[in-house]
Amino acid sequence: MTAPIVQAIALARHYEVKGGLLSKSATVKALSGVDFAMQPGKTLAIVGESGCGKSTLARVVTMIEEPTSGTLSIDGVDITPSKWAQMRDTVQIVFQDPYGSLNPRQRIGQILQEPLIINRPDMSAADREARAREMIDLVGLRSEHYDRYPHMFSGGQRQRIAIARALMLNPKVLVLDEPVSALDVSIQSQILNLLVELQERLNLAYLFISHDLSVVKHFADDVIVMYLGRAVEHATKDQLFAAPRHPYSKALLSTTPRADPEARKERIKLEGELPSPMNIPKGCAFAQRCWLATDECRAAPPELSGEAHRVACLHPLD
């Protein structure tokens, strides 16, 4: 196995929420202690419901936000805010909403050249333009699109532009924050195929954030299931989809629609609500909604354990 391109150890991000006059300020633990490693050419998928810290993780890895604690090393460099500027060309991000992620006042050519203007000040204008045109071609757009404005494009085309922009600096890691969830199903597959093709060609490592398990199944190599800021299960895609071991993962998987009307449906309906991230229960965060929970579960949070297929549960399923 080659050296990991991204290594995160106990990565955490907390937000202070100012209280009003009478209430005390609280801490939102959006991300509390996540470990993972990413390999070049592989895709690590992060799944979980809204509010589980997926996007916070994406923002921390992309160096938009500083982790509250834990270490993140990218390409062998320990990341601190002072290193952000030099590491910009290693990690780039594609956002969920292609309608908000492109500057409406810039032509496509300018949008693509901007990362080069900032990070490669000695590059000539002609070289930059050549590179931008090459990239337009690479993501499957036509060269006459170079001079157009973002509003002239459809959602799928815009997402291609966003991918092209992210690739302008030759990054080694691409963070994909729900890159297809804002798109039509027919367009989704085109974008996913483009991403697969680019990964093979450029040996990119993908951090793929999603809540859509069918997309993850198609796309990922490894999967981390998150619940309330913690990783509850970390396994390869095949292991997870064949035999989820954490009750939450099992419940999550059971909700995925299948194109097989004959298949036996056993949907697990979870009771109750996601606990507030300002007030995470002392024990296992999932204990309140879990059908296997015991008093032991409510006492202390279980650690992620195991070798290849790691799970944070005292009563893992087999």
């Binding site: 780039q92 500057n103 600096l169």
Partner: protein, 300 residues
């Protein structure tokens, strides 16, 4: 990827930015008319000494309050008549365009530059700086604008320059608020985050990424306050705090002629019409400008 760059075809030359601007601007007929009127106004202002038949302060004592040429008692020597001191109205109006234009330009430039910069800073600054700036602006806004301008002129001393400074200060908060509001909403958007991920510094984010997206309302506001500035300068002149007689400033002219409104309609009507037409033309133009500068309204 080398083979890809070799096959990249060159696209046809894109139309120049100016020509593209004109294409979209000219679709709005009102804006084009406004532009022509405004251009006439600018030419008037630029070549005023050549266009004006007489010196605007020269008094023809034999021709006091002479009506316009087409009315009984008028003559073509004074096409728009004369004022109570026998000065030629046409010459005064033409010279007056200079002052109005000057007031509009200076006030708008000062107010927009200051307002946009303060607004951008306040949108990007830490919260306490933002609060400080906005409260100061609220205080300025809480005064009746003309009264504040009057107080400022009273402190600075009555003259056209001081009137302009006062009006610019009074207008400033509108731009600050407008800019800050747009900055705050634009800042949330993903394209700003992605510029940050691309490594853009604060200055680049402020002026290159965010500012162009906030310009449309500012341009419209600038066009509107160009005309308001002319009106306010006139009001200050009327109160003796702006341009001083015998300066042929339109507002001062109106004020001077106020007592003759029933006897000699032309002494108040023509300066008033000049202000009206100029203001209307500028407002129409501002509208077209916004349409042309907003890429969301463009078609492929």
């Amino acid at each position: 990827m080398a083979e890809l760059s070799a096959t990249t075809p060159k696209t046809e030359d894109r139309p120049s930015a100016l020509r593209e601007f004109w294409f979209y601007f000219s679709e709005n007929r009102g804006a084009v008319i406004g532009l022509y009127v405004f251009m006439a106004f600018v030419i008037c202002a630029a070549f005023a000494p050549l266009l004006a038949p007489y010196d605007p302060t020269e008094q023809f004592r034999d021709h006091i309050l002479q009506p316009p040429a087409w009315q009984e008692g008028g003559s073509w020597a004074f096409p728009l008549g004369t004022d109570p001191l026998g000065r030629d109205m046409l010459s005064r109006l033409i010279m007056g365009s200079r002052y109005s234009f000057f007031v509009g330009i200076v006030v708008v430039c000062v107010a927009v530059t200051g307002g946009v910069i303060i607004g951008l800073l306040s949108g990007f600054a830490p919260k306490w700086v933002d609060t400080l700036i906005m409260r100061v602006m609220d205080i300025i806004l809480s005064f009746p604008s003309l009264l504040l301008a009057l107080v400022l002129v009273a402190i600075l001393g009555p003259s056209l320059t001081n009137a302009m400074i006062a009006i610019a200060i009074v207008f400033q908060p509108h731009y600050v608020r407008l800019t800050r509001a747009s900055v705050l909403s634009e800042r949330q958007k993903d394209y700003v985050t992605s510029a940050r991920v691309a490594g853009a510094g604060k200055a680049r984010l402020m002026f290159k990424t965010v500012l162009p997206n906030c310009l449309a309302p500012i341009i419209v506001q600038a066009a509107l306050s160009f005309s308001t500035a002319i009106l306010d300068a006139a009001a200050l002149g009327f109160l003796g705090m702006g341009a001083q007689p015998p300066t042929p400033e339109w507002g001062t002219m109106l004020a001077e002629a106020r007592e003759f409104i029933l006897r000699a309609w032309w002494v108040v009507t023509f300066p008033g019409l000049a202000i009206l037409v100029t203001v209307l033309a500028i407002n129409l133009m501002g509208d077209g400008l916004r349409d042309a500068l907003d890429p969301k309204l463009k078609r492929s």
